[in-house]
Symmetry: C2
Subunit: 202 residues, 2 copies
């Protein structure tokens, strides 16, 4: 005998869990298929949600897209790119740790989906000014975190050659570009090359 499925009202009692599930499902679909290539119906079906539940939390696809950028992509950038840099002794070590982590994941034969921020940035920055601002804010958080760390290195005499603000932009560009090349080639060669070059110049 199969277990009867939970009555719908049980789900409604935990709207936060449903909202989170919708965001998780949408973030994954936007990352692997793209925003335009994912329909609200796909999200509904994959999250096992009703149309009513989806539209209760996200009255439009754009609302869902903005929430994915602000709550999922921003979080992924924080965890993958920002946190290892913040917690490192110096910026250089933090950035190399990020690269090593990426290379280790890619060498495990995973398909290279690319950086979720980069993917959505290129797809959506022109589509809508609100998307553009939301995406720019995440890039800014990332850039500011690296610049802060570089300033701290500088104040301790550990960074001599570079001006923290511009160099932080450069590092973000290198990481984004390396991820784009890795996605296009489906191998980690570009990430290794960029890690090596950044390590040499820092």
């Amino acid at each position: 005998m199969t277990k009867p499925s939970a009555p719908p009202q049980k789900r409604v009692r935990n709207p936060d869990a449903m909202r989170n599930r919708l965001l998780d499902v949408a973030a994954e679909a936007f990352q692997s298929l793209g925003y335009h290539n994912t329909s609200m119906h796909d999200v509904m079906r994959n999250a096992k949600a009703t149309g009513g539940a989806v539209y209760h939390h996200f009255p439009s696809k754009k609302a869902l897209g903005l929430a994915v950028i602000r709550e999922r992509v921003a979080k992924a950038v924080e965890e993958t790119w920002i946190e290892p840099v913040k917690s490192a002794r110096v910026t250089r070590e933090g950035i190399l740790a990020v690269f090593d982590q990426l290379i280790a994941e890619l060498d495990h034969g995973k398909r290279i989906l690319g950086c979720p921020l980069n993917n959505l940035a290129l797809e959506l920055s022109l589509a809508d000014p609100e998307f553009q601002i939301a995406i720019q804010e995440v890039f800014e958080q990332w850039r500011i975190a690296i610049a802060q760390k570089l300033r701290s290195d500088k104040s301790r005499g550990l960074l001599k050659k570079f001006e923290p603000e511009a160099f932080a932009t450069f590092v973000v560009a290198c990481l984004s570009g390396a991820m784009a090349l890795a996605k296009a080639s489906q191998n980690a060669k570009a990430i290794r090359a960029c890690a090596r070059q950044l390590a040499r110049i820092m």
Copy 2:
């Protein structure tokens, strides 16, 4: 009195012109709206073509996408990124000339559409293996051209610090990433910062 439009058979007499027009229209739409966000019908309408003409030249949207990558995106990369480097005295000057050209265009208040290769790379590399290979080939042409120039610099004693192959990958990543940041922020600040940093390390 308005001029009567040309009878359809006149168009058929110049199939190359029609094919080129379809590629131009599709390349522009893929660049500004994205591949998935452009329909074959959009291309047909904007090229003022019949459905028959479109499907004669491109029996599927994928065939059109591949032709845009191989014949339009590859050409744009050749003209914008490769040619100025090839014709420069040394790689460093060629790369800075590319950046200056970009900055001049962006400062004229154009919307920043981003690098067409990068845009399609992130949208299509996972969508289909043939797209991925076509995109990878264009990135490779670009990388190889820079590596050749760097080797030539090296043989003349003008490049001391870097290994040409890996450094060429790094330069391509920096340019791609800088374009992604410029698109996300809709200003040229990231391109200026990256140009300055690359100039300092080369």
